[in-house]
Symmetry: C2
Subunit: 320 residues, 2 copies
């Protein structure tokens, strides 16, 4: 009798999470990886529904992503955006021509009454992706950044203002009324996963919106699968994005320990294993005092080999 499929659930934001998801898809059997993706960055722009984190997952897992920047499509052109600029249209959000096709396709399908889950599953299938990519919710949840410039919609903070305003907090508009992804919730209730991985994504704007969906973190904490968190902070910096800057502005220590503290404070007992980078090895003892099992390994993912090695490490940590 064949062993039951070792199903993996990964929680992910954009670039950093997609890297580990790519490693996990290579290190698990076909169809075994489920990725639950942040959609609180989604926004309506030029009449299109744009899902930046889902698209980063799609392009990364389909082998289409731009290898330099980690988001967008490789070999992209910007002819539509340049023409729009000549008309005086909005060009602060860098929509490539190939990327536009995804937004057009998604917007048409949503307009036909498909859910974001259905549209995402169909896109993944059409791009030949075997992993299951689940939006965190089919309902609109939108991150608002409380900042020195006032309250900003996430993409205005992130792209238009290039993360320069100082942040004081976040909220997720619509989250109380939103239903967490039905398929993932049903699988959690059925104890269908062998391991749950929180990818090295931004705790505040990528993972918090997922965990704070009604019932979500409690469902993750109460299923029997161990939860492994991979630190997005390495040697006091974020490999990608504004996580370190945000921690500093929020008065938190900009360390893996600061990350661990955030999760233990807001989601007590959720995380079982915390994976930190070798360069932060001296913090292990202090972090273990937060009642977390700490794993120390190389977490910076540059090559596909790095991604697969970290994925293998995470999966073995749980099996050992």
């Amino acid at each position: 009798m064949a062993a039951a499929m070792q199903r993996v659930l990964a929680l992910s934001g954009g670039v950093g999470g997609a890297k580990l998801a790519l490693g996990l898809t290579h290190e698990s059997s076909a169809g075994a990886l489920h990725v639950l993706v942040n959609c609180a960055d989604d926004f309506e722009h030029l009449g299109l529904h744009i899902s930046p984190d889902i698209d980063t997952l799609l392009y990364t897992l389909a082998g289409l992503s731009d290898p330099q920047q980690g988001w967008g499509v490789g070999g992209e052109t910007f002819n539509a955006l340049e023409a729009l600029g000549r008309l005086g249209g909005e060009t602060w959000f860098r929509l490539g021509d190939k990327d536009l096709a995804t937004h057009l396709w998604r917007s048409v399908e949503l307009g036909r009454g498909q859910t974001l889950s259905q549209v995402t599953a169909e896109l993944a299938a059409r791009l030949g992706i075997t992993a299951h990519i689940h939006p965190m919710s089919d309902d609109p949840v939108r991150t608002r950044v409380h900042s020195s410039l006032g309250e900003l919609p996430f993409q205005h903070y992130f792209v238009r203002e290039a993360c320069s305003p100082q942040v004081t907090g976040f909220d997720f508009d619509g989250i109380e009324a939103a239903s967490a992804n039905h398929e993932v919730m049903a699988m959690l209730a059925a104890d269908a996963f062998s391991v749950i991985v929180i990818c090295p994504s931004n705790p505040f704007v990528s993972i918090d919106p997922i965990l704070q969906l009604p019932g979500m973190w409690q469902a993750l904490a109460s299923c029997s699968a161990p939860v492994v968190l991979v630190s997005p902070i390495v040697g006091g910096i974020a490999i990608k994005g504004p996580a370190a800057k945000m921690m500093s502005e929020l008065g938190m220590p900009v360390t893996a320990q600061g990350v661990a503290g955030h999760y233990q404070r807001h989601y007590p007992g959720l995380v079982d294993h915390f994976v930190i980078d070798t360069s932060d090895g001296t913090l292990a003892a202090d972090i273990e005092r937060l009642e977390l099992d700490v794993g120390v390994t190389a977490t910076v993912m540059t090559t596909l080999q790095d991604k697969r090695r970290l994925a293998r490490y995470v999966l073995d940590l749980v099996n050992s």
Copy 2:
């Protein structure tokens, strides 16, 4: 005291009409040309509002059009469309990347509650066009082609089926409830034009929808400006598009005379002067029996010089 501005009103469809409109804008003073454009070809596609004839006018008058095909933007790329094709999306309507910007911009502005007239005027201004481009109506009017394949929306007949079905007739869905362009109707009521030119556009699917708007052809016929019709049929063929094929399928003689008969039958007394090509000069006497003043000149417009020469001829015909 300066002479009053000689205002010109041109009725136009796409490519053929835009050629003469370009000539007319060169041969009249800045701001003197008003073009009333067919919008019964407009359609919603991929969630975008597409106005093919307006766009051909915009691109032609802005000097952006593709010089080979006469529609679309020169130096166009199709990266969005190719990516959409890889997703299994609809690609039969050849949307270029630069062209997409126009549709995105228009769709956003219409979504904000602007009228098609306002959006078109703004687009023309942003493209540096001094002529006034007026959509025939702000209300939706949609050509349906009655054909051997049944009733087809215009773009399905024209682009997807490449005009191959045999036509038996046309109707213009929504036309009874549509209001003709308010600004043009007000100018006609104020007798503001010195001349009205019906460009060498398709009589059935470009000019008929304009003329059949409630009150439109009567307003054109009753103002004091002479109406000049330029034949779209030269030597038994249409220079561009399916006009000749349609005439043949409808059982009409495929000649300039057939065109004249169509206008005299449906809009008696509307046309004062009928301009035919030199190659059709032998038809002049027969056409004059339809109580039309016939002008004979070279009407095929290849170069800018051809366009200006024909425009000059039309304007002089009226002044003489």
